[in-house]
Symmetry: C2
């Protein structure tokens, strides 16, 4: 299997991308096709004393930055490493594409260049986040600001299938993020989506879930529109970071507290790892004809490697074919 990687996406490109790719190549038995400025990659590798000679390079000069408009991937920045990597995937030069770059551009590019699975209305951005025990998926986590009920149904279907096939969750519970548990709660979008999700035999729909219960263990797939999903995702990150930061402040406050910190060091480190959303490497872009994976923008080498492991699993899982089959079946119903 060959994964095409945007070597110039994210906050730590190209250094951490190169390091993570080389680790992935050795440990995960995948081939890597790096996309980006070859001279700059070679200079960075030299500086890192990293041998990148076992990875292919697709040389191109352009870079799409975090500040660029998402549409630029198909307009002004068609020569960027992201756009060229996506085209390479569409042309079959690799089996999947991963980038730590601009999420909005990746969604636009994946939809336009790689195209959707037949029957999929919109691709979704589906981050995996830790909960009290294990993890859950937020789908859509930000790709589609405006949604229709049928789109939410598909987010539930795709999320459920991904959790089964890629994340190894046997019977994923699908919940609809809403302001109350009763079926009549929320706006028209929620009520109509509730009806569609309830009627869908392919998923285990557990009804509405309130945001308070999501980090605890309300369900495995949280279905939501991309606006709300993005708000939930970022509030989750913000509160987790702020609270852990305040706990850290307590441990630094006095000599006595520093001693206590030493005593719980290992366990606190394990906890930090447990609630670190970076552990899951990023988020699949879901519904594309071929696998596209968003690596965390701030990913360092270890996170890049984690993301590439998930990209590999996503690609091997048969998810794309299965979704195509399910949607075809539902259309025929």
């Amino acid at each position: 299997m060959k994964i095409i990687v945007d070597a110039f996406g994210g906050d730590n490109a190209p250094e951490e991308i190169l390091l993570g790719c080389e680790e992935a190549r050795k440990e995960l038995a995948v081939d890597i096709l790096l996309v980006g400025d070859k001279a700059r990659m070679e200079a960075a590798a030299k500086e890192l004393e990293l041998d990148i000679s076992h990875m292919e390079i697709l040389d191109c000069g352009g870079v799409l930055s975090m500040e660029d408009d998402p549409m630029s991937v198909i307009r002004e920045k068609t020569d960027s490493s992201m756009a060229i990597g996506l085209r390479a995937l569409a042309e079959g030069r690799g089996d999947a594409f991963a980038s730590a770059g601009n999420s909005g551009a990746l969604v636009v590019g994946a939809t336009t260049i790689v195209k959707r699975i037949r029957g999929v209305k919109r691709v979704a951005f589906a981050p995996i986040l830790p909960k009290r025990t294990g993890f859950f998926m937020l789908n859509d986590g930000g790709a589609n600001v405006d949604c229709r009920p049928e789109m939410l149904l598909q987010f539930g279907l795709m999320g459920s299938e991904y959790m089964k096939k890629v994340m190894g969750v046997e019977k994923p519970r699908v919940g609809l993020a809403n302001v109350g548990e009763e079926a009549h709660k929320g706006d028209d979008l929620r009520r109509e989506a509730y009806a569609l999700l309830s009627a869908c035999r392919e998923i285990d729909f557990v009804g509405n879930v309130e945001a308070r219960d999501i980090p605890d263990d309300a369900c495995d797939v949280v279905v939501t529109d991309g606006f709300t999903g993005n708000m939930l995702l970022k509030m989750y990150e913000g509160v987790a970071l702020t609270v852990m930061g305040l706990v850290k402040d307590v441990f630094r406050k006095s000599l006595k507290n520093k001693m206590a910190a030493g005593m719980v060091y290992g366990d606190m480190k394990a906890l930090k790892k447990q609630i670190d959303y970076n552990e899951y490497g990023g988020a699949p872009i879901m519904g594309t004809a071929k696998p596209v994976f968003k690596i965390h923008g701030s990913a360092k080498a270890a996170t890049v490697k984690n993301a590439l492991r998930l990209t590999r699993d996503y690609t091997q899982s048969g998810f794309t074919e299965e979704i195509g089959r399910v949607l075809k079946g539902k259309k025929a119903e």
Copy 2:
């Protein structure tokens, strides 16, 4: 000043309500008019060995529960302590009303029975939450699932005025909760609200704020529709509770960890208090012709007292008159 209190609202009624009211009466120099079943209140007081003879009682038999439909406050449950308390406020038998009961019913009842300030389109539910340093307001935190841009403008105006007059924030920064900082981000509602908020001279609008930055210190008033606001509020609560629960688990894990817990006990307790949203007692219902305050449903006596302090400050602040003046001025513009 006399505060009318729903003695049968919330999870711990009437006992904790009675205890909190009596404390408030003594410490805050307010008179209390308790609404609810007099015999049950007297029996509970006897059990608690609490003297409630210095508080007036408005005797009524009905109770509106958390499970009741919000509309029931003006339909089947017009004899409930909440409905009768709201009517007592409308009739001028007290200066403000506070209840730990069903939030939805309180919003419906406040709007229908107490009525809105002239010019206010919708009343809002405006919880105050801790951030890294200090606190922020979420407005609307759940009263209005469907919103128009003008409503969001008013939430910003009312929130800013409340923070100034009641919470003592000199120049409140108002932000619009959105999926990105740029003015064009989000859906139509966000873009139109952004334009209205930017043009409003009465507030210090700092632009769009991302959810990740809200618990840190993005702004003092977070403007949002009630659906998103409720999601943000509950995700905030859920993550804070889950993370603090996991930290507690670490401290209980081994004898060594328990010793460390003892060493940081005082500081961790202070941190818990700092991030406890119960500290702010609840949320004002904003935009009603007379002050209505939602006490946390799970409030115990100390929280009830905190809530009544804020209800008193809200009532004395001149907030209601000021909002009436501002909206009249804006209409004349």
